[in-house]
Every structure is written in structure tokens, then in C-alpha cells.
């Protein structure tokens, strides 16, 4: 769900009735992207965002509702060369429990462990979390620091066309991405991190389960002899999209994780985020938390 969408049904003057005319459950990727050609399709995977959003009248169904759950190419978690591929239909629970993810991508496991509730994790999919494009989406911050690429499929002519887009360029605003209406997200590809790789995820909410982030922080880098390199920092719920924090990364890249570096990075972080006030917190508090908790996460990395 997007950040700041505090709109209640009461506010809505729109007619929430659907224009849904057709239900389609393709069994192959070709069928799916063929169907998407016309563009007037609402995609259903886990339904954990779609259902509440449609019931609250915040989204309207398009003419066709396409259930993508029966497409085999969208499932599975596999090692392909030096990349881990997670299919778009992988549920949060599957990701959390998968040995490849647990071994190589603990930061993603950590984020999944803070994701909603067991029931939602059993149904909600990674592809759905990405396409919902909430600035507070729990898996997005770890995917950013893991330098993931989003796999897209479409059928511009008569032939299946697939390509990848870095996740850092994928989001354009709350609920908005660079995916066109004719494209389907089929999975993500994540480079297997080096043995020196360290990463952390922190989610700040008012309760440990069933909460939308007030802010979230992801930090990853290779640590050798106390020096951090290949730094990637990302923040959630502090900008219109999940944010790669380049100024914070620069403040850390190639430096010893000493107190001065950590403080400089925390200040850089506070200054580069652009949060808003909403029912969960004020912008001021979010900036403070970005500063305080970036510092705490880095201290934790330095001590480990």
C-alpha cells in the first residue's frame, strides 16, 4: 500500500463499482503477455494489496482481470550462474524459508521476517510487492541494496520479449513504476554477494508485526580490514519511492567505519531523504530516525 494513502472511503466521491468484464488465467507466459498487449488488464497474483485496495475504492479493476498464478515461468527460486533468480510468484514465506536466500541474502530474509503477518506472507508475492511500488514496501529496500534487477516480459510484435531493468531505476512515484501496461514482471535477479559482503535491514514501526514502516533502512557493503566498499544504502518510506541513498553511500565508500565516518554518514542520510507527514509519523521524526538508526546500524556493522 502506498505511503500516505490515508484516504478513507468517505473521501471518495468516485463510483467504486468495477468495470470488470473478463477473467483470464493463462497457463503460459506467452498467453499472459499476449493478453497484456491491449493494456487494459488488472493483474492478480497474491491479491494481498489488490483486494483491500479495490474494496476501499482506491483502485478500479480494468476490463480484464488476469490471474497469473498458473504460469510456471514465474515460480521458483534458483541459482543461475552468479545470480539468484526469484520468480515473481515466490511468496514472502517461500523466500524466507529458501536455503539459497537464507545462505546468500540474509538481508532479504530479515525484511521478510518483518513483513505483515504469516497469513499475508503465505499469499503475498515478491512480484506483487515490487509492482505495488509502495515507498514503504518491505522487500524493496533490501532488493535495492542487493542491486537486484527486475525481469520484464512483453510481446511487442508476435514474439516474446524479455529484458532486465535495475531496481534502482524501476520506481517513479508512490504506486508508479517504469513497467508499461503491456509488461509483466516475471522475477528478480540478484547477484550472489561476495564472501566479504555484510548487510543489515532495519524496520521502524509501532509494533513488531502487521505494521507499515515509518522508515526502513538497508545497508550493504564489502568489509575488509575495517574498510567498507561497494557500499549500497537504501531507505524506505522517506521519499515518493524507495530510495538509493547515494550521498550516504559516498560518505561511507572506502572508509574505515569509525565514529566520525558513521556520524558523517548519518548526517548525510538525514539530509538526503525527503519524507512527508502522514498518520504514521511527521517528516521531522522520520529524518531523526533515519539519522539515529543509520548510525546504530553502522555501529552494529562496525562491531560485528
Amino acid at each position: 500500500m502506498s505511503l500516505g494513502d490515508t484516504k478513507s472511503p468517505f473521501d471518495s466521491e468516485e463510483d467504486p463499482m468495477t468495470e470488470l468484464k473478463r477473467y483470464f488465467a493463462p497457463t503460459s507466459l506467452d498467453q499472459a503477455v499476449e493478453c497484456l498487449k491491449g493494456g487494459n488488464v488488472t493483474i492478480l497474483a497474491g491479491g494481498t494489496d489488490l483486494t483491500p485496495q479495490s474494496q476501499a475504492g482506491r483502485i478500479k479493476f480494468r476490463e480484464t482481470l488476469m490471474n497469473i498464478r498458473h504460469i510456471p515461468q514465474l515460480s521458483g527460486i534458483t541459482l543461475e550462474g552468479n545470480e539468484i533468480r526469484i520468480g515473481a510468484l515466490a511468496t514472502i514465506t517461500e523466500i524466507m524459508e529458501h536455503p539459497l536466500v537464507r545462505q546468500h541474502l540474509p538481508v532479504l530474509v530479515e525484511a521478510c521476517d518483518h513483513f505483515a503477518s504469516d497469513q499475508i506472507r503465505n499469499a503475498g508475492t515478491l512480484g506483487g510487492n515490487i509492482c505495488n511500488a509502495s515507498p514503504a514496501g518491505d522487500t524493496l529496500v533490501p532488493l535495492l541494496v542487493l542491486d537486484a534487477c527486475v525481469e520484464l516480459a512483453s510481446m511487442p510484435e508476435a514474439k516474446l520479449y524479455r529484458h532486465c531493468m535495475p531496481i534502482s531505476t524501476f520506481f517513479t512515484g508512490p504506486g508508479k513504476t517504469r513497467k508499461s501496461l503491456c509488461e509483466l514482471v516475471t522475477g528478480v535477479r540478484i547477484p550472489v554477494p561476495s564472501p566479504d559482503h555484510r548487510s543489515r535491514f532495519y524496520k521502524h514501526g509501532t509494533r513488531p508485526a502487521l505494521d507499515i514502516s515509518t522508515i526502513s533502512i538497508g545497508i550493504a557493503g564489502d568489509i575488509k580490514d575495517g574498510v567498507i566498499s561497494n557500499v549500497r544504502v537504501a531507505f524506505g518510506a522517506v521519499a515518493p519511492t524507495p530510495l538509493r541513498a547515494t550521498a550516504t553511500e559516498s560518505a561511507l565508500e572506502g572508509r574505515h567505519l569509525d565514529a566520525a565516518t558513521i556520524e558523517a554518514a548519518a548526517v548525510a542520510a538525514r539530509d538526503e531523504v525527503n519524507p512527508i507527514d502522514d498518520v504514521r509519523a511527521t517528516a521531522w521524526y522520520r529524518r531523526e530516525m533515519i539519522h539515529n538508526m543509520t548510525k546504530r546500524v553502522l555501529e552494529n556493522v562496525a562491531q560485528a
Binding site: T6, T206, R207, P208, V279, T282, Y285, N292, M293
Partner: protein
């Protein structure tokens, strides 16, 4: 077993009181068989939908229902204009179910549709055209009492000033108000001026409280049908089936309290002013001061007390009742001040409380008479079991040490009615009891079961009198055509009032049975007793005859006698006088809770570590039930203190969903250590007192004291969200955080 042995069978004394007995409705609830209102569907039923206001505060210029009425499948569309003698509802009768001429708050009802399906009814609502003329919106009580504020219930109170709507309800309907004050309460005992002269130390603060709401398992609803005889049968969810007033639960008070004491630690006077957001209509929220003044005047001995309050109209949702309402708020202020006063005069907070705590035998300035009172035992027990004094000193010493994780411990106590509350001239309950020829009991009681476990406790009390197992009892409590009168399930009164009523009916039945048995065994009634399903000899326990057999003999004779009794219990309490004085309850419940927290000063996040409670419950009847009730109450108090906040801006709810209205979830529930103080109340059923509301009351106050112990920072505004705590720790005022943020 040979015949000789059987003749001399001895039944040992046994008691169900204090045992751990699963709630009688637990199997149905746990297996999903309990039917809520939305599970009920009657053949051929119509579906009702209500058109609610699209404005917060506006005049209704016109309503056009013609298109809706014309929609196939729609049976009826009604508006206020269709009901010539519409009767107002609510405490002040200022509230018409279908709004007349004006809407005053979000979701105000304008029209109602009955149709053959929910979808048709929904479609019909969209066809109703309403023209509004907007009025200024009053979003908080301070604005409501400003000179020149728009009037929310101006005179005359109706669409056109002809008072046509009053024709039927002349004596009850509200006639409008020349200002926005819905109700005032003024209470005094002693002389605060005199008290002030005697004082060495003063503390004065303003406390600001939030709106919360009950979050029931079932949604509200009603199904009605006519039977063949033209009687209306209504299914609904209510805790007051006889009064049937639906309540909506949230409230807000602003509560500036002054309290003074002498340096020897004796409280001298207390002065309180409160301003209450009544919302758009007067419901039970306006009566919050009744409960607040009990705590102000009588929790601790205070010789001079002065309390003034106004409940004022705004365009916010109207305020209703809530578990312990009034007391959570008053205790939040009073118990923080107890800690602050103790600190100011350099006294240990525990000692300061013990010095001023009430004891059995006292009659307070408000006229409450404490016949049983375990208050001091509650304080001592909760403090002892939590190691309060050592931790309090240790945490205080750690406040200034480095580190961002601080621990704190805080205490708060409460006084609440425990023997009903005579808020109406009657506070009674009736019982009808019948034994069948298998010695099964049907207990027909006026008291509703709303999940609190009253069926089980009432059955226990009856079994205790009749010497029967709990499985022998069937409770009938949900049909006003059958059950006798009861005021309602409120004021923590059911165990006490319905319990005494059930005991009364059971004793009458017992007396009837023993009279028959005495004749049969040629002895006196006093020689006999009922135990283990038998009539026994009282002295030896020797079983004389199975009760079921005796009852069968009674039934199968030419002059059959049936064991059917009725009893009505009215507690020996007093309806308060105009100055709010009088012994309003037949008994009073006490409790102390100690809260331990860990505060993360980098985030303001508070981890609730442990709650140690000691409650004077009179006597434990069902140990399993009372543990559940206390633990549930603590969690409800935890939500009130930390997470729950119904955010309202200019009359609109900003978080009308469970994503943003945050209930406590399982991982946040703290460790609990609950002790029971059994003061054996002389009037209580088997010595018990009411405890329904008690456990939710202390949490916010104790948590505030714990946060102060951890950090040295006091919080005067609820709830303690991470941001609010963090702001307070950094010297920033609380912020209504859904307002647009401006650079600070």
C-alpha cells in the same frame, strides 16, 4: 458395592468457588460456532442500507429519493420526513436517528433503504440526491466554547422551528441550546480555599487525552421480523437488551488538575477542571464525569475537593462509553500527580501512597462507604512482587548514565465500583430458576453474556447452593421475552448483582427442597444439606437420597410440586443526590498495577516488559475466568496507553481501519504476574466484587510513571507512540502528526 455400603455413602464437602472452570461458551467460540449478527439470515429478509452524510456539518436543503424508490427491488426508502413522530435517542434526547434538517458529524444518517439484496440497496443509495449548505466545522472543544462559535444544536431544534417532531416526545425531546455546552457537572466536598491555606506544596498540570474505540469481534447490526401474531422479534448485539441503547465508544477530555499536599505527605485538596468533547450528539460519553469524580474525590483521602466540567458539542463523532470510562482518564492524571508530589516533597512514592490510601470503614467526602477495602494490600503486594522500591531507585540512578536503553518502573492504583452502580433509580436484576426431574437447573437471568464469562460464574454460584456439578446448569440469558429485568451489562456489575440474584433464587429452591426432604426423613431442614447431587445429613455428610430422585417423587404425585423460584436482587446502594453524593455502589473494587518498561531514547520506542497486578476482587469465583479478564484488561489498557488512537481532524476520521488504528498484537503482550486480594466483601456473592473494568484502568498512568522513572521525562498526553515519546525526550511539544508539517 453392596447395599450396606451404599446406604452409608458419605459425600465429602466440595466447592466450585475459586476453581479453574472453562467458560461455558468457550467451545462454541473457539470452534467458530458462535453466531454473530451477520451470521443470521432469515428467509425472505430484506437488506437495509443507510445513506450517510457526505458533509460533516451542513444544512440539508433537499433530499430527492424518487429515483431510488423507482429502482426495481427497492421496497422502501425513508427519510426523517417520512416519520412524523420520530423519537430522539441518547442521554440528552438531542439525536434523531434520521437527521432532521441538518447533519452534524461524519456518517450522520440521512435516509434508509430496504431492498431485496444488498447490491440493490447499495445502488439505491447512489440514486438519492441530497443538497447541502455547508456550515463551519468545529473540530475541537476549545473552539466550541469560543464566543461566536457556530451553534451545533441551535434553538429551535428541528427542521423548520415548528417543533412538529416534538409532538410525540414533548416531554423528552431536546429543544436546542443557546450555546454549545451539552452538559455541566459541578462537584464539591470540603472547602478547597481552606485546604489551600493548609498546603505546603502545589502541583498543577494539564493532561490531554485521546479518542479510542472498542473493537468488537462482531459488527453492529439488527434483524427484525414479525411473527404470525404480529409481534416483532429483533436480533441484535447489545449489552443492555432491556434499555437497548447502542453505544459508540470514544471520548476525549482535557483535564487540568491541581493537587496539593502538606510536606508530611498528607493530601490537602484537589481541584480539577475538565473539558469534554461530546461530539455532535449526547451519548454516554457525556457521563464520563460521574466516574471521574469518584477517583478525584475518593481514591485517596482528600479532605477538600472541587471538580468542574463541561461536555461540549463539536462536529466530531459522538462520544460513548468504554471499559472503565472516566476512570482511565482520571487515574492517568491522579496517579502521575502522586508520583510528582512524592518527588517534590522528597518522599518515597510507595510510602506516599500508603499514607493517603483509603481503608475499610471510611466514608469519603462523596459519600462512598468502603465496607471491604484491600487497597493497601494491593499496593503492598504489587510493589513486593515486582521489587518496586529497589528497581525504582536503581532506574532513577541510571537516568543520567550513558546509553540509549533505559529501564523504568511505575505504579498506579484504582478505585472502581464493584457492587453495581446506581446510576438509575434501580440497579437490580431478576432470576427465574427451575429444577427438572433429573436435577438439571435452568437459570433464567436478566444478565447478558457478552464474553465476560457471566454464564459460568452464575452457574457456579447456583451449583454452590444446590450441591450440583456445573454441567447440570443451562443458562438462558438472551431473550427479553423470557428473561427477567436487568439494567444491563455495565459498571462491572454482573457478577455482583446478577450473582446475588441467582444465589437468592437458588436459596429459595434449596429451602423448598430441604423442607420436603425434612418431612421425608423426619428431621428439620437444618439437619440437611445438598451436596454432590444428593440430599445429605449436614453433620455427617451421609447421602440420604439422590436429588433427582427426590424431585421425581415430587413431580409424580397427585399433588405435584415443582421447584421453580424467582428472585429479584436490588443492591443496598444509593442513587446519588443532585450534588453527586451518595454511596452509589454496594461494594468497591481496588487494584494496583506496576508497569516495567524499556525506553529506547534514540527512537522513543517503548517495550512493555512486565505488568504486576494486585486486585482486590473480594473473592475469586472462577480463577480461570478472572485471570483471563485481568489479562485481557491489561492488554486493553496497553492499547489505550501505547498504540490506539482514533485520529480525527475537522470531524473526519483519518484512520478508519485496523492498519492505522493499531490494536496491540500478540508479540507485544508483556509478561504478567497477577495476584488476587480476597477481602471477602460482606454483601458480595460468596464475597466477590466486580472486576470487569478494573484491569484496564491503571495501565496508562503506571506506564507514564515508568517512563518518567526511566527518563526523567513526564508525558501528559496519550497515547505514548514512539514519536510522542521521542518528542518529549527532546523537549518538543506533542504534534498532531497528520497536520501538514512546517519547518520548525
Amino acid at each position: 458395592m453392596n447395599v450396606a455400603e451404599k446406604k452409608h455413602r458419605v459425600i465429602e464437602p466440595d466447592s466450585l468457588i475459586g476453581k479453574r472452570i472453562p467458560k461455558m461458551d468457550a467451545p462454541d467460540k473457539a470452534s467458530g460456532r458462535t453466531r454473530y449478527i451477520h451470521d443470521i439470515n432469515l428467509p425472505g429478509q430484506l437488506h437495509g442500507k443507510i445513506l450517510r452524510s457526505a458533509r460533516i456539518h451542513a444544512l440539508i436543503k433537499s433530499i430527492d429519493t424518487s429515483a431510488a424508490r423507482a429502482l426495481p427491488g427497492v421496497h422502501v426508502v425513508i427519510t426523517a420526513a417520512d416519520i412524523a413522530d420520530q423519537r430522539p435517542i441518547g442521554v440528552a434526547k438531542d439525536h434523531f436517528p434520521l437527521k432532521v434538517g441538518r447533519v452534524r458529524s461524519q456518517r450522520d444518517e440521512i435516509a434508509a433503504v430496504a431492498a431485496e439484496s444488498e447490491e440493490i440497496a447499495e445502488a439505491a443509495l447512489k440514486l438519492i440526491k441530497v443538497e447541502y449548505e455547508d456550515l463551519p466545522v468545529i473540530g475541537n472543544p476549545e473552539d466550541s466554547i469560543k464566543p461566536g462559535a457556530v451553534l451545533i444544536h441551535p434553538e429551535p431544534h428541528g427542521a423548520d422551528g415548528t417543533h412538529l417532531h416534538l409532538k410525540q416526545g414533548t416531554s423528552i425531546a431536546h429543544k436546542g441550546k443557546p450555546d454549545n455546552v451539552a452538559m455541566r457537572f459541578d462537584y464539591t466536598h470540603g472547602d478547597v480555599v481552606h485546604g489551600e491555606a493548609e498546603s505546603d506544596v502545589v502541583i498543577e498540570d494539564t493532561f490531554k487525552l485521546h479518542y479510542v474505540t472498542h473493537c468488537c469481534m462482531g459488527v453492529s447490526g439488527m434483524i427484525a421480523e414479525f411473527d404470525a401474531g404480529g409481534n416483532v422479534l429483533m436480533y441484535s448485539n447489545t449489552q443492555v437488551p432491556f434499555l437497548h441503547k447502542r453505544e459508540f465508544a470514544e471520548y476525549l477530555n482535557i483535564d487540568p488538575a491541581r493537587i496539593r499536599s502538606r510536606k508530611d505527605g498528607t493530601l490537602t485538596f484537589r481541584q480539577v477542571h475538565t473539558l469534554h468533547d461530546n461530539g455532535a450528539y449526547t451519548s454516554w460519553g457525556a457521563t464520563t464525569p460521574f466516574v471521574m469524580m469518584q477517583t478525584f474525590s475518593s481514591l485517596y483521602r482528600v479532605p477538600h475537593c472541587d471538580y468542574h466540567t463541561a461536555a461540549v458539542y463539536t462536529n466530531n463523532p459522538y462520544a460513548g462509553s468504554f471499559r472503565g470510562y472516566g476512570n482511565l482518564q482520571a487515574t492517568f492524571a491522579i496517579e502521575q500527580h502522586m508520583d510528582m508530589l512524592a518527588e517534590t516533597i522528597g518522599m518515597d512514592p510507595l510510602e506516599f501512597r500508603m499514607k493517603n490510601a483509603q481503608e475499610a470503614g471510611e466514608v469519603t467526602g462523596q459519600g462512598m462507604s468502603f465496607k471491604s477495602c484491600g487497597f493497601k494490600d494491593c499496593i503492598k503486594t504489587a510493589a513486593g512482587r515486582s521489587d518496586f522500591s529497589r528497581k525504582f531507585a536503581e532506574n532513577h540512578a541510571n537516568q543520567k548514565k550513558p546509553g540509549n536503553i533505559k529501564r523504568g518502573i511505575g505504579m498506579a492504583s484504582m478505585l472502581h465500583v464493584g457492587g453495581g452502580a446506581k446510576i438509575y433509580p434501580s440497579d437490580g436484576c431478576g432470576t427465574i430458576l427451575k429444577l427438572d426431574d433429573f436435577a438439571n437447573v435452568t437459570l433464567i437471568t436478566g444478565a447478558s453474556e457478552i464474553g465476560q464469562g457471566s454464564e459460568t460464574v452464575l452457574s457456579q454460584l447456583v451449583c454452590e447452593e444446590l450441591g450440583l456439578p456445573i454441567s447440570a446448569v443451562t443458562v438462558v440469558n438472551n431473550d427479553t421475552a423470557i428473561t427477567p429485568w436487568d439494567v444491563g451489562v455495565h459498571a462491572s456489575r454482573t457478577t455482583f448483582v446478577a450473582g446475588n440474584s441467582a444465589i437468592g433464587a437458588a436459596r429459595k429452591a434449596k429451602s423448598k427442597i430441604l423442607a420436603v426432604a425434612a418431612k421425608k426423613f423426619d428431621c428439620t431442614e437444618a439437619d440437611l444439606d445438598l451436596r454432590g447431587g444428593f440430599v445429605i445429613r449436614a453433620d455427617s455428610g451421609e447421602a440420604l437420597v439422590e436429588l433427582s430422585k427426590l424431585l421425581r417423587n415430587l413431580h409424580f404425585q397427585d399433588k405435584a410440586e415443582l421447584v421453580m423460584t424467582t428472585f429479584y436482587y436490588e443492591p443496598p446502594s444509593v442513587h446519588q443526590d443532585k450534588g453527586f453524593k451518595g454511596d452509589v455502589s454496594a461494594a468497591y473494587a481496588w487494584g494496583t498495577q506496576v508497569v516495567e518498561v524499556e525506553v529506547d531514547t534514540d527512537t522513543g520506542f517503548i517495550k512493555l516488559l512486565k505488568v504486576t497486578g494486585a486486585h482486590d476482587v473480594g473473592r475469586v469465583l472462577n480463577r480461570l475466568g478472572i485471570e483471563g479478564q485481568i489479562e485481557g484488561g491489561v492488554v486493553m489498557g496497553q492499547g489505550y496507553a501505547f498504540t490506539e488512537d482514533l485520529m480525527i481532524e475537522d470531524g473526519k476520521m483519518k484512520n478508519p481501519n485496523f492498519r492505522d488504528y493499531k490494536l496491540v498484537t500478540a508479540p507485544e503482550i508483556p509478561e504478567m504476574d497477577i495476584a488476587f486480594i480476597e477481602s471477602m466483601d460482606g454483601e458480595g456473592p460468596q464475597g466477590a466484587k466486580g472486576v470487569g473494568e478494573a484491569p484496564a484502568i491503571c495501565m496508562a498512568a503506571a506506564a507514564a510513571n515508568a517512563i518518567a522513572n526511566a527518563t526523567g521525562t513526564r508525558l501528559f498526553e496519550l497515547p505514548f507512540t514512539p514519536e510522542k515519546v521521542y518528542r518529549a525526550l527532546h523537549g518538543q511539544a506533542p504534534k498532531r502528526y497528520w497536520k501538514p508539517w512546517k519547518a520548525e
